[in-house]
C-alpha cells in the first residue's frame, strides 16, 4: 500500500472532522474547499482524472463561491451546536457500524473479477475507438454518446435548478412591500 494514499486519506479524515467541529462558518466553508480538493486528488489516484477535474472545478471552486456568497447575504457566521449531542453520535455510530458490516461481503479493492468490472465495461473499452472514429478517451465517448441521454437529463436538471434559483431570489420592487407578511408560506 502506498504511503501517499495513506497521507491523503488521513488528511481527508482530519479535514472532515475539522469541518464537523468548527464553530465559525467561514472557516468551515474554507475547509470544505480543501476537502473537495483532497477528494479530487484521491480520485486522480483511483484512475478517474475526468471526475477529479470536475470535482476540483465544481466542488472546490463553484460550491465554495456559492457558500461564501450565501454567507455574505445571510450575514450569520456563527454556528451554535445543539445542547444534547449524544443522540446524533449514537445514530451515526450505529449507521456506520451497519454499513461496515455490509462491506464485509464487498469484493476487495481493485479485484479484476469484481461484478462491476465484468459487464459491460470491457466492451466499452474495446469498441469505443472504432465506434467513435478514433476518440481516445473512453469516458468522453461514454458520456457524450453511449449514455448521451443521461447527459441530456443532467442539463435539464441544471436548467431547472437555474430557473428555480432565479424565481426564488427574484425581488419585485412593486410587490416587495405588499407580499412581505404573507411570504412565510414557502419555507414551511
Amino acid at each position: 500500500m502506498n504511503i501517499i494514499v495513506f497521507a491523503l486519506l488521513a488528511l481527508l479524515a482530519i479535514t472532515a472532522v475539522a469541518i464537523a467541529r468548527l464553530r465559525e462558518l467561514w472557516a468551515a466553508i474554507m475547509f470544505t474547499g480543501i476537502y473537495s480538493f483532497l477528494s479530487a486528488s484521491w480520485m486522480m489516484i483511483l484512475d478517474a482524472p475526468d471526475v477529479a477535474f470536475t470535482e476540483a472545478a465544481v466542488g472546490a471552486g463553484i460550491s465554495t463561491v456559492l457558500m461564501l456568497s450565501t454567507m455574505a447575504l445571510t450575514g450569520q457566521g456563527e454556528d451554535i451546536p445543539r445542547k444534547s449531542s449524544w443522540m446524533p453520535i449514537l445514530i451515526v455510530v450505529v449507521t456506520g457500524a451497519t454499513l461496515v458490516y455490509g462491506t464485509l461481503d464487498m469484493p476487495a479493492l481493485g479485484a479484476p473479477d469484481a461484478p462491476v468490472q465484468l459487464y459491460p465495461s470491457p466492451s466499452y473499452v474495446e469498441r469505443s475507438v472504432e465506434d467513435m472514429h478514433g476518440l481516445p478517451n473512453v469516458v468522453t465517448a461514454l458520456l457524450a454518446s453511449y449514455r448521451g441521454y443521461d447527459t441530456l437529463g443532467e442539463t435539464t436538471v441544471v436548467l431547472t435548478a437555474g430557473i428555480a434559483v432565479l424565481l426564488i431570489l427574484r425581488r419585485d420592487p412593486k410587490e416587495a412591500s405588499a407580499t412581505e407578511p404573507s411570504a412565510g408560506d414557502e419555507p414551511a
Binding site: A20, A28, T32, Q76, D79, P88, I91, V116, G134, V138
Partner: protein, 176 residues
C-alpha cells in the same frame, strides 16, 4: 479479520467514515448553511464510493494511447479492404478484372495483419472501469445544481425570518 481483508476493504471504510461525518453534521448542527456543507460532504463520499469500485489493480485511466488508436484505425480500414478483397476473389472466376482488385485487397490485408499485431502487443494495458466515472460526472453537476437551489432557499428563509438558525425558525413558526 486478516490483514488481506483490511487491505481490500479500507477504502470502503474510509468512505463510510466520511459519509457518517457528513451525516453527523446534518444531524447535530442547526445552522442551515452548515447543513448544506454536511450534505456536500455526504455527497462527495458517495462519489468516492463509486470511483473506488471502478479501480482495477495495476490499471490506468481509461484513455487509450494515441499510438494504439492509430494502429486500431488502420487495422479497421484494412479489415474493410480485406473483406472487399474476399468478395473480389470470389468474383475473380467470373470476371477477369476482379483479379487485380483482389491482389490489391491482399496487400492491404497484410498491412492490416501487422497493425493487428501492434494492437495485440499494446492490448496488455489494463484500464480502470470508465462507467463509474461517467455516472459520477453526471452526479457532480446535478449535485452543484441542488446545492445552489438549497442555498437560494437559505437566502430566502433569511429574508423572511431574519435568521438561519433552525430552532429559532421553528420557534417563530409556532409563535405566529
Amino acid at each position: 479479520m486478516t490483514l488481506e481483508t483490511i487491505a481490500g476493504l479500507y477504502n470502503y471504510w474510509m468512505v463510510i467514515f466520511l459519509m457518517m461525518t457528513g451525516f453527523y453534521i446534518v444531524l447535530a448542527r442547526k445552522n442551515l448553511i452548515k447543513s448544506v456543507i454536511g450534505l456536500n460532504i455526504f455527497q462527495t463520499s458517495v462519489f468516492l464510493l463509486y470511483i473506488t469500485m471502478g479501480k482495477v489493480n495495476n490499471g490506468t485511466a481509461p484513455i487509450i494511447p494515441p499510438a494504439i488508436v492509430e494502429a486500431q484505425k488502420s487495422a479497421h480500414e484494412s479489415h474493410a479492404g480485406a473483406a472487399a478483397g474476399g468478395v473480389a476473389e470470389h468474383g475473380a472466376g467470373v470476371a477477369e478484372h476482379g483479379a487485380g482488385v483482389a491482389e490489391h485487397g491482399a496487400v492491404v490485408a497484410e498491412h492490416g495483419a501487422g497493425a493487428a499485431e501492434a494492437v495485440h502487443a499494446a492490448g496488455d494495458i489494463v484500464y480502470s472501469n470508465p462507467l463509474p466515472s461517467v455516472l459520477m460526472l453526471t452526479a457532480i453537476v446535478v449535485g452543484i445544481a441542488t446545492t445552489a437551489l438549497a442555498l437560494a432557499l437559505v437566502v430566502r428563509i433569511r429574508e423572511d425570518y431574519g435568521t438561519v438558525d433552525e430552532e429559532r425558525i421553528l420557534e417563530l413558526d409556532r409563535g405566529e
